[in-house]
Symmetry: C2
Subunit: 362 residues, 2 copies
């Protein structure tokens, strides 16, 4: 297209929206107009993007007119309703919610892994994976390309901002309740001090870990666990891959950490895994525990890449590795992956309009 495309950021006032506005101000500027959109409740607020103040508009059919690319950073139910409306108006939607991730007519894209997938988008919607999947997939995909992945067992330690600003507020409030006290030493004392309102979590998260996140899915799984499994299979195009996840909410503000056991078709060595990870786009290898070098959320938060450390050969299996990854759930886990998808969409837009092609024709 000749004019620069119009971008809408739907959900500009949320936790991911805040990071998105930063990124749009820092990345190479490919956009014409940028419209900031949110719920009517937040309309009228002024936010800065690309060094200028912009007024937040209420989400409506009108506000989506003439938009070429619409970033949806909103809860699943809002995306389910509004993304098809935006697509019908000619926008390519990049959706950060779970609403369309497993729709066979919606590609699920991680630009480092399956960039080609962005071109085939029959519904005009491209989905970005969940934050825990994104913490895993760049490192796992790089190892898969060399060794062929066969089985993955993941424990995801999820930061509270994965549940939005409500999650952050809940942890901050609970920390203020427990700091400087003797709480945490007796059964239920943290629960009683925090009270009934545990925010978006099923139990207090300060001085605690909560082995549940998301909604109930079949077989005793949480939706986050089922999502990590299904999304990993879809992105790697391995519909029968053995993947199993346990998701645990931890008292960290931002950055998910994953403890990963991965088995491959080929024999593996730590040396070769190190070489692969050290040279993969989007990955930082940080692995010398004797020198104190391993990723932790406190060091990784606010950075773009997936950090990988604690790489070990599984002792009883020459084809398996253990490793530990940290990824900022608001950046690569959300805003960064969405903006990367959006930037790759630009080159696929029809020259004369923002209409979506069935196949890429850049």
């Amino acid at each position: 297209m000749n004019r620069r495309p119009t971008l809408a950021v739907v959900g500009a006032t949320g936790a991911v929206g805040a990071v998105m506005l930063q990124m749009l101000s820092q990345h190479a500027d490919v956009w014409g107009e940028i419209r900031l959109v949110a719920s009517p409740r937040s309309a009228g607020r002024k936010l800065a993007v690309r060094g200028e103040e912009a007024e937040v508009l209420a989400l409506s059919e009108e506000v989506l007119e003439g938009v070429d690319v619409a970033l949806f950073l909103v809860p699943e139910e809002v995306a389910a309703q509004w993304a098809p409306i935006a697509a019908a108006k000619g926008a390519v939607v990049v959706d950060n919610s779970a609403a369309f991730r497993l729709d066979p007519d919606v590609p699920l894209v991680v630009p480092e892994i399956n960039p080609h997938a962005v071109r085939v988008r029959p519904r005009g919607i491209v989905a970005s994976p969940g934050d825990s999947t994104l913490a895993l997939i760049v490192a796992l995909g790089a190892l898969h390309a060399e060794f062929g992945v066969d089985e993955v067992v993941v424990t995801a330690l999820q930061a509270v901002s994965g549940a939005g600003q409500e999650g952050v507020a809940a942890l901050r409030a609970q920390l203020s309740t427990v700091a400087g006290t003797e709480l945490g030493a007796h059964p239920g004392d943290v629960r009683r001090a925090v009270g009934e309102d545990t925010g978006p979590f099923a139990a207090p998260v300060a001085l605690n870990v909560v082995p549940w996140s998301g909604a109930p899915a079949e077989g005793g799984w949480s939706s986050e666990e089922a999502g990590l499994r299904a999304e990993t299979r879809k992105i790697l195009d391995l519909p029968r891959l053995r993947v199993v996840a346990t998701c645990v909410r931890v008292p960290v503000l931002t950055t998910h950490s994953l403890s990963v056991h991965a088995r491959f078709e080929q024999p593996v060595t730590v040396e070769r895994a190190h070489e692969i990870l050290a040279t993969s786009p989007g990955v930082v290898l940080y692995d010398d525990p004797g020198a104190g070098d391993f990723p932790t959320p406190a060091d990784v938060v606010g950075t773009d890449p997936t950090w990988v450390g604690r790489v070990r050969r599984t002792p009883d299996d020459e084809r398996a590795l253990e490793f530990f990854v940290c990824g900022d759930n608001l950046r690569k886990g959300a805003a960064l992956n969405v903006v990367q998808i959006a930037e790759s969409v630009v080159s696929t837009l029809r020259p004369e309009s923002g209409k979506r092609p069935e196949f890429g024709d850049s």
Copy 2:
């Protein structure tokens, strides 16, 4: 023996010692004299046990004279030096440190799993496993008895009191630094606020998780990870069992949580696993996530059993289960298992003296 045995609690003033004195006051009283022993630094302090004040004695050869059973709740290097001295003086030593756990002449005992092992103690020493192994083994052992365990992949979320009172003090101090601030949103901000002194941990633990605990072992493993593997094999008497662990320190005061993937020789069902766990001594089954029922450290701390929830059949493997366990690392993970061992030792003491038998002759 006719008189009631004399007990020494070596390390009475530590984090585990404090819980031990509580337990000795609550359990059926099988002991005659109880001597409280600690480093010379703590000697002279008065502590309550069985409703009476007792003065803490400095560890010395003299203080170990005439002791029938000596509980060692001290760091590994102190146990390595003093446990053989106590044993040479005729005491049966029950050691909570890692010093003797893998010694082939020292039994490693969990009374629910291998009670018979306590009777064969050629060095006069019985070892209690590490706190993470103890959080795992009672539930795993119960499932193993039915299904035959074949492979275990564990991520252990370790509470700070596993590193002693220093660990507790470090987390409390760090929480006071971060509570009520905006810290945790930028790379390194928690690290800068906490400063160089991170206590016994390799990185700040407030608003963070630290994928390292213990000392470096071969192959990139931490001593805690290597220990969990070797101890599980020894207790279950399965020297070739595939076991792999990742240990992560989390900002929880007390109670370790383990995310477990376990594969068995026989096909498994959640229903049968529930039946086994619901009827196993030392285990509480707490597994109805829809009703908010799963174990968390905040609820489990201060209780004796291992709590198990989130039991799921691994989707691609009819022989594997995922589950989540929580166990108080100061109780079953340390003091409780030690006192259980000590109580079982009493019946094996020779009638006329505290001398150890090669084989039990109660």
